[in-house]
Symmetry: D2
Subunit: 388 residues, 4 copies
């Protein structure tokens, strides 16, 4: 940590599109980028509702001339300012990710974007091209890959400690009050439950996080899937539960469960990965530990900073073992590395040392391809469908 | 417990077929039926190997004339003795369950039989008829239904506390050294890994326990399934992993995972069941607790003997909350109730008050039908197949 | 386990003094000695109430002529029979342990006795002499030393894996409804709450178990103690909470907490022991695991049967890791080893191979000495008092 | 949360004394005050070492003219600036807390100060007077009182849900590598292990947090204590373990364990509090849950945001249940409320609505009085000593 202390030559300026005071995700991003002190929030188009924009900007001490009601105007004006934003955070529903991201990339502004990347494969491919064309940093906030113990899991798999991977069991299945019921007034549905945003949005939401985690930890992408999806909540018009099975090219098998109806489960993200030598298990709600189970030997409870964890994992935790880091400092890791990547990019350095571990536009495309295949499988009664 | 203290007018005499000293399951049954003191082991045909018979009989203090090497002889001679056995425990591989059980039933001897019921649906149907014809008690030792908290789960579902059941996630997936590798000398394979005993024996073994538990707790039997099965261990010739998906008539959805390659998982039996009002979760390795999660409210840790658990659940635990009961006392519950049922049957009483909660020959048939459907689905590339 | 299978040349005959159907502890002992099938219960003086004797004997299938109402008569008659009992289980309140035990020892009958050994130091010393004089086996049922993971703890300390022991934190502090309140009708108090049985009986009850565990695991006996004891429950006349501090000769420090008012704790036995290299932690309610925490390295969850646990620990568990063994099979270990010791003693063999690990009359004396010192300290306002 | 969104009329400016880049605690405070975005760090005298000052100031983007090497100069100059700091964070060793705090209070600057308040009772009383005299906000960073579930515990006790409190068992006992050994080079000892900072500094460090938590949750301050303290680590010259017993005026009894030699425990802060109706248990390492155990009923796992938790507890958690908040967001609660209190104080509002729940200078004095009594008791061989 001390080693890193002076690496940041300057604080970065950031703006937000979406994320107004009526949004949970906006507050989440702010906590994550503010904690380490590397980002100043100086501009925003926080909502399509001007009142929300106004109140949010005021509450966040945004200067009046940088409180925008139109993201296009924001991109243009910020790009023109000497003290314009270095990066934009896109915290809108996914339907406009593509348009917003392209606008800022084209204006020469780095992008940090919520998942799922886009609504369609076509949009995702376009965005992948836009990122490549721009040369700008693009980070997709699959924030759970910032947990030290998720990173430890990735390193363990890469090191061969698990042996050959056989089974991957992944889930992001919760059922808190907010998602396990439809509101009395259907017009007040969260956008994720609006049918026009896609019947299979559950896979874009919680599913894409879980799918990214499979790929992040194992480095393996499945080749085929079979989907078994349901809608349980009365008056709901989109899927609220999805059981997927996966095949991998090397014979490994996997499952992914996404749900909004796992009643009483508060968060519900977790994985179990089994190799022929050992297995690992992790759950976000108990996320400071990674359980490591070598065949024949006792289970061990790995924790960042202990002997045997890498510098990267140790650095991803800010305290010595025992101080609970939680979700926000995990997310802050994504922002810290994004900041370092942008500074490298802007000073002619090697940004890939930081972006190589960060969720990318290609990861986003992979997620959208999975959703596309799952929809095809579900529509065909659960047949096996190639991914991508 | 005191109430029950004098209910047993006499101790029952029991014999075993299979379960010699080289068998784990034999010792398990003996611990379970001996603990409460209602059963005397007085006869056995413990093995097809006469040396094992001899040593086992000697170690168990069996009289010489009741140490049999042929189960047919045992059935005949025991039936003819005034002090002959009341019941036989069948602890052989499943291939001869049918023949052994019929022999003892026909001799007028009650049967307590290991799972899976039989190797084939045809055998299972025949055995179902043999039981009906005999009028004898037949108990299938799905022993995990003896756990107080599994019984509590059943009562909670029946009471409506979970609301309408939506999702059932069941697993019996372990990977201890004994099952996650093939022996050097393939001739020393445990019978469950011998291809002639069925490529899908994993579903007969751990899978049938898990499937029984679904049906025991929820009272629901799925109508269709889709199977995704693999063989991972080198040189293994049977499936060692099975992912099943289930559909229920009322729209509920389920999964069942059976595995011998869940490396490092010691036991691996557990369930999570989600209704629209609440969910429950249980794992055998932490089996004294049933986690109950009502929507919006805190999780509670239910335990036998606390306010709110029934007399039956309280009675299924022998101590006040806090003394760990473990697997053997759960199994002993099955034997205690089997003893009570047999005593009722022999004294003209109502044995159904005890058998109604015990795994039956019909439950065994249901398990074999599930295995049959899973084999059909797997052979057809995972298509959905009707059960039974 | 197979190795042990034929070691028992014969079943042992056992009788009970106390432990009638109205007693929890009697049922506990029976479950423990019956499970493995090495003991036949054939005689008893189950109560001072003849009706309880009669009903208990009937329920347990005891022959009429071996249902005694006087333990002295029982000792004499059983000693005179060719098929008399090999051993007696004493499950009475502690006030008569001394008299009962001496009677049976003098009659040449081995003794298995509940804790605390006696009410006074003087009685304990007398009983120690009586045992020595008799040459018979005497086992004190500090049953928790039968848990495989408690034995693992002892082996770890002895192996030096913890380094030099510094801190020992032991507790047996529960507060279930039965002990955390006085009954409406004080005449219905359990004997442990009757003032005539000693104001500090809490230390004889739960405290003596915890104290034995300290000594069993570490091999260390404290030299001095300081006691801080309270009575919380209205109308209670004995202590219901005790906080003790201990000094050990080598500078180690310890605490022991005994309580009946730890509201809502179901069982409450557990320990944490810290050396300069590593620490261990165990709780009966999660008793299948021993947590091992080496400095700098991750915590590991030790379990019987895994690589690194000894044969003795593996043998103390009857199943491969994962099947929960629970309290009764732990207690059954004490009875199994007592049986082996008695068979050795009666056949001229070396019984110390079994008794060396079993709680002895000297362990019982050590416990009574601790209680005596604690009473002295509490009476003197918590000053430090030498033990023994 | 949304309700609070616009309450902050302005961001506050803060400076630090101590907390340079070579300090863990400095980074901790920065994460805590930066996360919510209400504080700007604009000045500092980060070290007594000018090189550390320089590097820290540069790394934190502090303007050159606000990088001080003398805290007195800092207080004077900041007080004179129109844009001077609103508050100072004191993150030095406790020996100079008194001097630094008085200097800033006298300069009209609010103070947020690390624990323990001071080294001596006399200093603490002086500081209490200085705070009263100044009329400024003074917050002592007993940061653990920011955890939502610690606040829930306080509310439960106040509501009477536990009934009359009987037993309080508190501990902050860790043993990570950094504290469980002395360095090779004794001159590199952390100040907390330097004898000149007090032989009983363990009570000032971890002990004062635990003691504050007792008082914060229960509202009860013990009247007497008995101390049993040791030094275990070779070459260490201060106590590294302390066992305290407490008496409360109403008959409740308590224990407090502070340790640096609880080998392998990572953090080690936790409590168990028992009333006559229910008990609660909490551990920082599993800090999202508060275990609630009503007599006779199942344990429940309380979590912020569920039905039955208050608005204040819900507000103290930033996310819906399930997202792990961790240590920093708990600490951030202290800073958020300090900011609100300061804004109220500066705008003539009622700051007590915020300070009433925050650790105060009087809480600091209470802690120093406890340490003083413990030292007296330990010096007198563990006799009971009045507190304060």
């Amino acid at each position: 940590m001390k080693q890193e202390f002076i690496k940041f030559g300057r604080r970065l300026r950031v703006g937000m599109v979406g994320g107004g005071f009526d949004s949970v995700i906006g507050e989440t991003h702010r906590l994550a980028f503010q904690a380490d002190g590397h980002w100043d929030l100086v501009a925003g188009a926080f909502s399509i509702n001007p009142v929300v924009c106004e109140e949010t900007a005021k509450g966040l001490f945004i200067a009046d001339d940088r409180n925008y009601t139109d993201y296009r105007e924001m991109a243009l004006k910020e790009a023109a300012r000497a003290d314009g934003i270095d990066a934009v955070v896109i915290a809108t529903p996914p339907g406009i990710h593509n348009a917003v991201a392209e606008t800022f990339l084209d204006a020469g502004i780095h992008v940090i974007c919520e998942k799922p990347l886009t609504r369609t494969v076509e949009e995702a491919r376009q965005l992948e091209q836009a990122v490549a064309r721009s040369g700008k940093i693009f980070v997709l906030t699959h924030c759970y890959s910032g947990f030290p113990m998720v990173r430890q899991a990735r390193e363990l798999v890469a090191s061969g400690a698990l042996g050959k991977i056989r089974l991957i069991d992944m889930e992001f299945a919760g059922g808190s009050p907010g998602v396990s019921e439809e509101p009395e007034d259907l017009s007040k549905r969260h956008w994720r439950f609006q049918p026009q945003n896609g019947k299979e949005m559950i896979l874009g939401e919680v599913g894409s996080h879980a799918y990214h985690m499979v790929r992040y930890i194992t480095g393996m992408t499945p080749t085929r899937l079979s989907a078994f999806m349901q809608t349980f909540v009365p008056r709901r018009e989109v899927y609220d539960n999805a059981f997927l099975n996966f095949e991998f090219a090397d014979g490994a098998a996997g499952r992914l469960w996404s749900s909004y109806v796992a009643t009483g489960t508060q968060h519900g993200l977790g994985f179990r990965i089994y190799g022929d030598k050992a297995a690992i298990e992790w759950h976000e709600e108990d996320g400071e530990y990674l359980r490591f189970r070598p065949l024949r030997e006792p289970e061990t409870m790995l924790r960042a900073g202990q002997d045997g964890t890498s510098n990267f994992v140790g650095y991803s935790a800010r305290f010595r073992p025992g101080h609970t880091e939680g979700y926000i400092l995990a997310f802050a890791n994504i922002y810290r590395e994004a900041a370092l990547a942008i500074i490298q990019a802007e000073t002619g350095g090697d940004s890939t040392q930081y972006t190589s571990g960060l969720p990318s536009v290609s990861d986003g495309l992979a997620g959208v391809l999975m959703i596309d295949a799952a929809a095809a499988s579900a529509n065909a009664g659960g047949t096996w469908v190639d991914i991508g």
